[in-house]
Symmetry: C2
Subunit: 340 residues, 2 copies
C-alpha cells in the first residue's frame, strides 16, 4: 500500500494536521518538529496524493498554458520555461493549443476551466489580447499571467521592449548604409506586429528617412506570407536594399523568395528577422535577428502567477532584455558574402 500522510504522522509521533502544515509550509510548527517530519517524509518516500489535496483544499495545483501560435519553436520554448517554474513549486502544467478565431474559442476555454479547474493560466499571444476572454477571467476570478500582452497595465507576466528592439534592428541596417528599408508586418491580431512596426518607424525617423508606405507590406508571421511580401517588394520599381521582417519565419520566406528571384543575400538585399528561432540558424545565410528569451519568459510569467497562487506575493509585470544577434543576412548595400 502507498504511504499516506497518516503513516508519516504516526512515524513522526505527531498528528496528521501537523504533517499537513509541514507539507504546505504553513506557520506555527516548531522548527525541530518540522525537521523531524521532513526527515520521516523522506525516509518513507512519501508523496502527497494530489487528488485528495485538491478535493479538500479546493485547489488543483494545476497551471494551464494556453496558446494559439503557429511557431513550434516559440511554443516549446515557452512551455519548457513554464514547466520549470511549475516544477519548482510542485504544480503541474497542462498545455492547450487553441484557435482564437474559432467560433467556440471562449466555449473551449470555459470548458477547460470548468472541467480541469486550473488554479491559474499562462496566456501567450495573441490570446493575451482577447478582450472578452480577459474580461471573463477577471469576472470569474481566474488568475492569469501574460507573456507579451498588448496591454500591460493591471496585468502580471513578462514583456520585452519589442519596439526598442525593432528600432535597434533597423538602426543596424541604417548604420550599414541602407536608405531604402522595407518592413514585412506580422499578424494584425498580435501586439508584436504593432510594436515592431513602430520601432521600424522610430528608426527611420531617427535616421531622417521618410516613412514610405509602399515599403511596408502586411504579413501574418507565416513563412508563406514572407514569400508573398518579398515577391511584392522585389517587383517594386526601386527595390529596397534591406528588408526587416516581423519574425524569423517571414524572414526565411523573404530569403526563399530572394533565391527564387536569383537575388543574393546579403549582396543584393539584406534581410533581418525577429525572435531568434532555430530557423534563423538553419538556413543560408543565417539570419540577423533579435534574440527573444522564450524559455526565460515562460519561466518568469509562470513565477508571477505562482506568486499569486501561493499567496506569497502579488506578481509583477517583469521586463526581460533582448539582444541584437548579428549573423550573415545583413551587410552594407552591395556588400559581399563568401560563397565557396
Amino acid at each position: 500500500m502507498r504511504v499516506r500522510l497518516e503513516d508519516v504522522a504516526r512515524a513522526a509521533g505527531v498528528s496528521p494536521k501537523t504533517v499537513s502544515r509541514v507539507l504546505n509550509e504553513e506557520a506555527n510548527v516548531r522548527e525541530s518538529t518540522r525537521e523531524r517530519v521532513r526527515s520521516v517524509m523522506a525516509a518513507l518516500n512519501y508523496r502527497p496524493n494530489l487528488p485528495a489535496r485538491s478535493l479538500a483544499s479546493n485547489q488543483s495545483f494545476l497551471v494551464a498554458n494556453l496558446y494559439d501560435n503557429p511557431s513550434p519553436g516559440y511554443v516549446t520554448e515557452i512551455q519548457a520555461g513554464v514547466l520549470e517554474a511549475c516544477d519548482l513549486h510542485r504544480y503541474s502544467m497542462m498545455v492547450r493549443p487553441l484557435n482564437i478565431e474559432a467560433d467556440d474559442f471562449l466555449q473551449r476555454v470555459e470548458t477547460l476551466i470548468l472541467y480541469h479547474r486550473p488554479d491559474g493560466l499562462v496566456l501567450t499571444p495573441p490570446i493575451t489580447d482577447h478582450a472578452e476572454l480577459l474580461q471573463r477571467l477577471n469576472q470569474q476570478g481566474v488568475p492569469y499571467a501574460s507573456v507579451s500582452p498588448r496591454e500591460r497595465a493591471g496585468t502580471i507576466g513578462v514583456f520585452m521592449d519589442e519596439q526598442q528592439a525593432a528600432r535597434d534592428m533597423v538602426m543596424h541596417l541604417l548604420a550599414l548604409g541602407h536608405r531604402r528599408i522595407a518592413h514585412v508586418m506580422g499578424h494584425r491580431a498580435h501586439g508584436a506586429s504593432g510594436w515592431r512596426l513602430d520601432g521600424y518607424r522610430d528608426a527611420l525617423a531617427a535616421g531622417g528617412l521618410p516613412y514610405d508606405s509602399t515599403l511596408v507590406v502586411q504579413g501574418d508571421f507565416s513563412f508563406a506570407s514572407g514569400v508573398a511580401a518579398a515577391r511584392q517588394l522585389f517587383s517594386l520599381q526601386r527595390r529596397p536594399t534591406a528588408i526587416f521582417a516581423g519574425n524569423d519565419d517571414m524572414a526565411s520566406g523573404v530569403i526563399w523568395a530572394a533565391a527564387e528571384r536569383g537575388l543574393s543575400i546579403p549582396n543584393d538585399v539584406s534581410v533581418c528577422g525577429f525572435d531568434d528561432m532555430p530557423i534563423s540558424r538553419q538556413i543560408w545565410p543565417t539570419i540577423t535577428t533579435i534574440r527573444q528569451p522564450g524559455h526565460e519568459m515562460g519561466r518568469l510569467a509562470a513565477l508571477q502567477l505562482l506568486e499569486v497562487l501561493r499567496g506569497s506575493g502579488t506578481g509583477r509585470m517583469v521586463e526581460v532584455p533582448y539582444a541584437v544577434q548579428l549573423r550573415e543576412s545583413t551587410a552594407a548595400p552591395g556588400g559581399n558574402l563568401r560563397r565557396g
Copy 2:
C-alpha cells in the same frame, strides 16, 4: 455554489449512484433514465469534479506524454495528436520534456509517476527504447503506448515502415540516375537511425550498387551534425552526387554546408531528408523528404493507450502510411534548377 453530482441526482429524481453510472457510461441503467439524467446534466451545466473522481476511483484521468527530442516541430505535432485523443475521452494530457542521458532520468520519471499518478504514458523516441524504464513500467503495471519503438513485439502504439520509406527515398535517387549516394545517419540512440540506414542499404542492393562505408557518416539528427557530415562528404576525392540525410534538420545542415562551399543544389548535389518537418518547406531549395504524419501518430498511440485505460480493448500496434514528398532538392545528376 458549484453544481454537484448530488444536485443532478435530486433534479433527476434518482440516486447519486445512478448519475455516477451515467457519467461513467456504465451498464445497468435504463435508457430512458440515462437520457433524463443526461438532459439534467446539460440543463444544470454540470461538470464532474475531477479530484473527487480521482480520489474515489483511484484513477487520475491523466495521460503523460514523455519526450526527449530536439525537434520542436515533431514534438508539437505528436502533442497535438495525443491531446486530440485525450479530449475525446475527457482525459487530460500533461507533457514532460526529459533528458534521457541525465543521471536522474529514471528518478525523474519515477517522481512524475508517484506524484501525478498518470493513468498511462505515451512514449516518444528515444524514450521508447530505454530498456530499464520499460522494465520498471511493466513491473509497476503502468500502461504505456509507444510512438515508433525499436521493439514492437508486446507493445501497443504506432509505427511507420521507416526502412521501406528510406528505401523508397533512395530508390528515387537511383531512378534519377545517381550512383554515388551518401547517407548521414541519425543519433545512435534512436531506432529510426538504424531503420533508415537499412533502407538505404536495401536500395543500394536493389540498384546493384556496393555499400561504401566512406559514404556513410554518423550524425545525431541535429542541424550542426548535418553541416559537419556534409563538410566531410564534400571533401571526399570523389564527391557523392546525392546525399540522403536521416532527417530534415540534417538535410538542411547539408544544404547549408553546400551553400558554404558554393555548391548548387540540386545541380551539383541532390539532397533529401526524412520527416517532412516545417523546415523542409522553408529553405531554398525545398527539401524532398518522407512525410511522417506526426499528429496522426500521436493521436493513434494515445487511442491505443486509452483503449486499455478505459477497459474497452487491449490496444494494438498500429501502422501508419508514409509518403514520398518530392520537392526541389533532388534532380538528375548535373540537373538544373531555376535560379532567377
